[in-house]
């Protein structure tokens, strides 16, 4: 369970280009559910996703992760929590070019200091699960959009996080690949993962597997609907 209490986020505070991205948001995200933050561009979805995932700190308000306050933890501890709890899938995949698929998947686990051999085996198992075992040694720039998306998901799962955070995950995928992505998310939920996505794609927001859609506009929650 992740809770946000009266969260505000202002960029460039006190400067002429000050911008308020999130205004007084209070929200509770249930575990083992798929939650979608929906809204037009500039509504604050991505910023809220960053705050939920411990990537950005709120200007005001509190964040509770499984009942523990993490708002003002020093960077090192916050990074450690983020690394162990969250897996991120970015809109532009954000893979590191020039290195292999396998290395990309292993990257988030390097700072944990586990045995290289075990880590490699785990990464290969994930790639096999996503049908990419044969491409493990290939450099990522040669992959198709769908393959890159799957590498990004495998990378998000390498540290076995409880929560998957995906920002506009279908923005660069066609209908077929988008549907495939949603199926993978459904499977991960069955495995006990909590999934939070930001999207304005109807294929995501209206998908049957989504438990809850939180609508946003101008940095506020405009409505919150709970689907079965």
């Amino acid at each position: 369970m992740i809770e946000l209490l009266n969260v505000h986020k202002t960029f460039n505070q006190g400067k002429p280009n000050e911008h308020v991205a999130i205004r007084d948001v209070t929200l509770a995200i249930a575990s083992r559910r798929i939650t979608v933050l929906k809204g037009p561009s500039g509504s604050g979805k991505t910023t809220l996703l960053s705050i939920l995932g411990g990537m950005a700190r709120p200007t005001a308000g509190r964040i509770l992760l499984f009942g523990r306050e993490i708002t003002s933890l020093p960077e090192r501890f916050l990074t450690e929590i983020r690394r162990g709890t969250f897996g991120f899938i970015f809109q532009h995949f954000n893979l590191v070019m020039g290195i292999s698929v396998l290395e990309n998947v292993m990257l988030p686990a390097y700072p944990r200091g586990e045995s290289h051999l075990l880590l490699r085996q785990r990464a290969l198992a994930l790639l096999k699960m996503f049908g990419l075992a044969a491409r493990s040694a290939a450099p990522v720039e040669g992959l198709s959009g769908g393959e890159m998306q799957r590498v990004a998901i495998a990378r998000a799962l390498i540290n076995d996080p409880q929560v998957i955070i995906a920002d506009e995950p279908t923005a660069h995928l066609d209908t077929g690949l988008s549907a495939e992505f949603m199926e993978q998310m459904a499977r991960l939920r069955e495995e006990g993962k909590t999934i939070i996505m930001a999207s304005h794609d109807p294929l995501v927001c209206e998908a049957a597997i989504v438990n809850r859609v939180v609508e946003m506009r101008d940095g506020r929650l405009s409505a919150a609907g709970v689907l079965p």
Binding site: T46, T47, M55, E80, F90, E103, G113
Partner: protein
Amino acid sequence: MGSIEKQRSIIDFTLASLLRRKGKNAAFLAVYTLVVFSLASVMFFSQALRKEAVALLADAPELVVQRMVAGRHDLIPLSYVEKIRDIRGVRAVRGRLWGYYYDSLSGANYTLLVPEGFTWGAGNIAVGQGVARSSMAVKGDVMPFRTYDGRLARLRVAGVLPSSTELVSSDLILLSAEDFRILFGVPRRVATDLSVEVANPAEISTIARKIAMMLPDTRPIAREEILRTYDAVFNWRSGILLLILSGALLAFIIFAWDKAAGLSSEERKEIGILKAIGWDTGDVLAMKLWEGASVSLTAFLAGVILAYLHVFTTSAILFEPVLKGWSVLYPKFRLTPYIDLAQLAALFFLTVVPYAVATIIPAWRAATVDPDAVMRG
């Protein structure tokens, strides 16, 4: 164990990252190595030469007395020998005969010296390797000399000096006192200068002062002063070379600073990705530190090893003319390997540390941004 595995993984990634920009990094490494090579070569060479000179001068007399006429070195009367010998603390005084001879056939200047206890006898000479090469003389040959009054003197080469002493004996011809006096017309009652042996080294300066007072037309020179002059000459020559190299060095520093200090947008984005997927600032800095260390240590080691080979196996073939002096008779010799660890450490700190620091600062700046910059960017 965990932290070793962690560093191992980070090093793996760093090396894989470096290999991505193979051409650029290889070119940089080559220039970096060249700079270390040049600096280390000058350092090794001048150090070894100085060391050699000190070792050779160890056998030189503690004090040499020259006669001065109108501010110039002149022949010294042997009657001074007795006067100096009477000074308390002087163990022995000897007249020395030496001079220079220009050989118009080979266009070279030879140093002619009458050694103490010349065993080959009158009419014979022993020559250095350089003289043997330039005049194509071997043992048993006769070398022609023109005396001071234009007559021809024929001296037989009775021996060639060993190559181990070549740095100082290359242009040397050893001969008997009689032949020397005939060749240059030096009268029997004078010598080139006097060598003075002093029983107690602490008294050298006192004795030198006494000689100067007793014989005002003389100039006593202590061995320490000669060593200082050698030092100054070697320092001056390596200084000239360093000055020439400093242009290249400056260009390299600007190039290295630019390369290390400016992160490309691609590198900046990568740091953002690493932070977003769970690396903290320390991990990113460790990666950059490994990157800087691997590049600069490789260049340092390669440069130093190449310089060592260059100086001690090829006798510094590239810097030869500047460091050894300009002469027809280049001595051919192999320097005794000698490395001053303090200087090597200085070179290390001047080349490796600035580069490592230059890599770290911009990475630190990039790594302290919020990880969500990647989400927003």
